[in-house]
């Protein structure tokens, strides 16, 4: 039987209350949102918090809305909300692509965007999605808020820029003209962690890619944002040659390991192929050839 080690449990009633509890309870206190990453890690003693601060009552963090040329998503938006959101599907179809293949409907009823990003698991899909979209994270403490871009949010595997007296409260994604995005994932069975995932987002003007990003999951500690890919995409014409080249760049900038999900060679092959497919679809969507 797997049960977590003894803990103390607190329930936060507001963001203010949550960050106050976090400061007061010390380094080994953790927020619990959906719990579908944290509780399994606690059962395995990979995470050993002394206190859990339940933030599921923070209704003020459950939104997805458009404001000031951004889409703003509360940290407690659940996978199911992200999947169902017409606003996200219209502006950032990469979300629906990814959410369809994250875990299963029952798990998606609980897991949250904020929880996924804070877990900072290199195999987790939404970090690649948010990085491809050039999102930023609003981090709140009792002193106020600061905004951190996705590439600076992840400090390393399972480590984020969120300090012990802070809380991730919102994710902001800029709305820019001519955008298109897509997500590709290969998994061993429905709902599993990725063997490899690749997300792509492009912004186009007059048939040219003005800006583009590719984020990868499950192929190394730091692959949500690959700078040489962004450099190759900026100002390029969307051709098969370009997709080929960017796929190769992505493949040479990741560090997959051989494990039960596949060999390093197979995963590297997948990175190149999934990057090409995601880019192809993202460009087609940007050109409004499909929705």
């Amino acid at each position: 039987m797997q049960v977590p080690a003894p803990i103390e449990y607190e329930r936060a009633t507001s963001v203010e209350h949550a960050v106050a509890l976090r400061s007061e309870l010390g380094d080994e206190a953790r927020f619990i949102a959906g719990g579908h990453s944290l509780l399994p890690m606690m059962k395995l003693r990979l995470a050993n918090p002394t206190h859990l601060i339940d933030i599921n009552d923070l209704k003020e963090l459950f939104y997805i809305r458009e404001a000031d040329s951004e889409v703003r998503i509360g940290a407690m938006a659940r996978h199911r909300d992200l999947l169902d959101s017409e606003l996200l599907a219209r502006h950032f179809p990469i979300f629906r692509d990814a959410e369809r293949v994250i875990a299963d409907p029952t798990v998606r009823n609980r897991g949250t965007l904020g929880g996924s990003l804070c877990q900072a698991d290199p195999s987790e899909d939404l970090s690649a999605v948010c990085t491809a979209l050039d999102a930023s994270c609003v981090i709140t403490s009792s002193d106020g808020q600061r905004v951190v871009p996705m590439h600076a949010f992840h400090v390393g595997p399972y480590e984020t820029a969120v300090a012990n007296n802070e809380m991730l409260t919102e994710i902001r994604i800029p709305l820019r003209p001519g955008g298109g995005s897509a997500y590709q994932k290969v998994e061993r069975r429905a709902g599993d962690w990725a063997v490899v995932s690749a997300g792509a987002a492009v912004w186009m003007d007059a048939g040219t890619i003005v800006d583009g990003r590719v984020g990868l999951a499950a192929v190394g500690p730091d692959t949500t944002s690959i700078q040489p890919v962004a450099e190759a995409l900026a100002g390029a014409a969307p051709t098969e040659d370009l997709y080929q080249r960017v796929g190769e760049i992505a493949a040479s900038n990741c560090s997959p390991e051989t494990d039960g999900r596949g060999t390093a060679a197979y995963k590297t092959h997948l990175v190149a192929e999934l990057t090409r497919r995601a880019l192809r679809t993202a460009v087609a969507r940007a050109q409004r050839q499909e929705v």
Binding site: M1, Q2, V3, P4, A5, P6, I7, E8, Y9, R11, I32, G35, H36, L39, P40, K43, L52, D54, N56, A103, D104, P105, T106, V107, N109, R110, A190, G191
Partner: protein, 161 residues
């Protein structure tokens, strides 16, 4: 710590350890052993219960997190001796063999039919895709849920809401 919640319509108030998982609270403390405990890793879905009407894997929730919420277990499907159409459907269409996955399957089916009274086969298969059955090959489970959709009564809709 003290936890208060509604389980199958009745208020319960119990002393628990904060680390106690909801599945063990339901089975061991409340004695409602209809909720099964399977993989313990949120993969198999036999421990699914409804929290405020939504299917949730109770092996991956703390009992404390359910405090203040409405929990429905398989025992809550039957009301005053009348089976829920989902239960009836599983009988009519052989929706179970060993029965281990059945409580979770039936609760997910109930939540699905509350949201979508006439789901397509694809929608049904997607809804139960986080739950594993090693006997039926799923076809009879899908048929059972379709049977229930075709035999919904006002009683079942009321009791589940």
């Amino acid at each position: 710590m003290q936890v208060n919640m509604k389980v199958n319509g009745a208020e319960v108030s119990e002393e628990i350890e904060p680390r106690h998982l909801l599945v063990h609270f339901i089975r061991d403390q409340l004695g409602l052993t209809g909720t099964h405990w399977g993989c313990d890793t949120s993969n198999c879905g036999t421990c699914v219960v409804l929290i405020d009407g939504e299917p949730v894997k109770s092996c991956t929730q703390l009992a404390a997190m359910a405090g203040g919420h409405d929990v429905t277990t398989v025992e809550g499907l039957e009301v005053d001796g009348v089976l829920d159409p989902v239960q009836e459907g599983f009988m009519q269409c052989h929706g179970l063999q060993c029965g281990f996955c059945t409580p979770g399957m039936m609760l997910t089916a109930r939540a699905l039919l509350n949201a979508d009274p006439d789901p397509s086969e694809d929608v049904i298969r997607e809804a139960i895709s986080g739950q594993i059955c090693r006997c039926t090959g799923y076809s009879t489970i899908v048929r059972s849920i379709q049977w229930a959709a075709n035999h919904e009564t006002s009683v079942s809709l009321e009791s589940a809401s």
